[in-house]
Amino acid sequence: MMTRLWPMVRKEFLQMRRDRLTLGLMFGVPVAQLLMFGFAIQTDVRHIPTVVVDESRTPASRDIIAALENTGSFRIVAHVDGRPALDAAFARGDAQAAIVIPNDYSRNVGRGSTATIQVIVDASDPLSSQSALAAAAGLGQARNLTILAAAAGRTSLPIDVRIRPRYNPGLRSPNYIVPGLVGLVLTMTMVLITAMAIVRERERGTLEQLIVTPITKTELMLGKIAPYIGVGLFQMTAVLILGRFVFDVPLVGSLWLLYGVSLVFIVVSLSLGLYISALVQTQQQAIQLSFFFMLPSILLSGFMFPRQAMPEFFQWLGLLLPITPFLEVLRGILLKGVGLEALWPQTLLLAGFAVGLITLAVRRFHKTLD
């Protein structure tokens, strides 16, 4: 049983070693992705270019402008005079936010009546306007409370809401992105590589020679995926090490559990690739089908966009992607340090994917030419 597996695996390794480009991609992709996503992607948008229209020009108005800038959400790029200049700055894209302080601001503050300031945000990109809006609203509220408390003769506020962001106290994007990246890199390379593996043999005519031998289809398929299990484990290790030392991403939970579940996920991705390769006739089709699967894996899995914000239908759709439960496992282990007692449903789902996809691939693949 399985006596022909080892020659098959050995052959795959020999070919892998000679295919410099693919080899480079397999090891270069995770590093490049990590640096790209880790450095470039920040979901909390800070330092939005801001113009100021200060019609009040008083210490009070300068004080509120400084306070807004100190939230870190706004970066003041210019002081302009009047609305037309403000609109022009927005239109040119020089500014994405504006602070307008009317000339009666200081007077109203002094009199104890309501003083108005306006914060205008370019919301064509809702994501980047969000933190500015929240910062402005928060600052306004804090100011109001201080003034009201002082008027009521109190030195402390009646309610103090203390916020503790658990598992990621610095609210840093890399802590969220890097664990997810392990899943994404594995999905991208594992699915594509195996999708190509059998189709390439079909296209080059080597499959025909191989299937007139007594090799069983299980040996053939296992031989195709076995070498890439090692590649997958190497890739995730590279991402984890770089994540730890370049981006300071914590590694709280059990490494054994992490690698165990990742192994299951790697097998899932490889089986999916095999299934694709059994469906298609050319490498072109294999690439297209892999990409058809790749985009939802980024968008619907919770890799970047929170699944809770999606309509229910898309939340269910996301659950059809193996990467979705895997991301929960990754973040659970790496950031929260939880174990199987909390992550067993996701792990079970992944195991189900593995069994299902292997079965599909083996049933679909035939040792004949038609």
């Binding site: 022909r4 020659p7 080059r204 020679q209 031998t213 007594p214 090799i215 004949t368």
Partner: protein, 244 residues
């Protein structure tokens, strides 16, 4: 008839509306070099693929080395060697690596594999090429390597589908002497070809046209049956008939 190596009975294969092979019946004796002739699309490759267990027959059947290709295609695969029209080995592996890989796939291990490889390398003269990548070999050497890989497990029956396409005349000649060597030692060889000089070197021939068998016998008999003085005449007559 215990000495029948390949026994084909009313073998038929359809692809949709097209009948590629129709009601083909013939026997090939053990140790025979049997040629399959016919223009492109006459059903030669489809026939060989069915005999190798690569395609299921639509109806009819065949036994190869006593094994039924419809019911036990995987057992057939242990008893046959096959060379496809297109070079089917790994161009990014060396000659030695290709041979070792197929040796492993055919279940040869350790010393047994080394002995068998040494035999074949001597037989095919591959000694100086062992560490070249298959991609760098000329057509003639590729063909020898492919033959080597097909012979590793000493199959009693060998199927060669246009083995000498794109090979220079000297290499073709030495290839054919290797084929006759094998046949003398009891290997049955079924070969398809376009070349008349190769067809002349077969013990017996079958000529196919549009999936049918139209002539069967020694080269001289076949030429006569189709109505030409030589085999080449016969082939041209056949092709003209086909194109009508």
């Amino acid at each position: 008839m215990t000495d029948v190596a390949v026994d084909i009975r009313e073998l038929t294969r359809r692809f949709g509306a097209l009948t590629a092979v129709s009601q083909l019946t013939l026997q090939i004796a053990r140790g025979e070099v049997f040629g399959l002739l016919g223009p492109n699309g006459s059903g030669k490759t489809t026939t060989i693929r069915m005999l190798c267990g690569l395609l299921d027959p639509t109806s009819g059947g065949a036994t190869v080395a006593g094994i039924d290709v419809s019911t036990a295609p995987e057992r057939v695969k242990t008893r046959i060697g096959y060379m496809s029209q297109r070079f089917g080995l790994y161009e990014d592996l060396t000659v030695a690596e290709n041979l070792q890989f197929y040796g492993g796939i055919y279940g040869l291990r350790g010393a047994a594999q080394a002995t068998r490889l040494a035999e074949l390398v001597a037989f095919l003269g591959l000694g100086d090429r062992m560490h070249q990548l298959a991609a760098q070999l000329s057509g003639g050497w590729k063909q020898r390597l492919a033959l080597g890989c097909a012979l590793l497990h000493q199959p009693p029956v060998l199927f060669l589908d246009e083995p000498t396409a794109g090979v220079d005349p000297a290499a073709r000649r030495s290839f054919w002497s290797a084929i006759h060597d094998l046949a003398r030692r009891g290997t049955t060889v079924l070969v398809t070809t376009h070349y008349m000089d190769e067809a002349e070197r077969c013990d017996r021939l079958a000529m196919m046209s549009l999936g049918h068998l139209i002539a069967l016998g020694s080269p001289a008999e076949v030429a006569q049956q189709v109505g030409g003085k030589t085999l080449e005449d016969a082939f041209i007559i056949l092709q003209e008939r086909d194109e009508r």
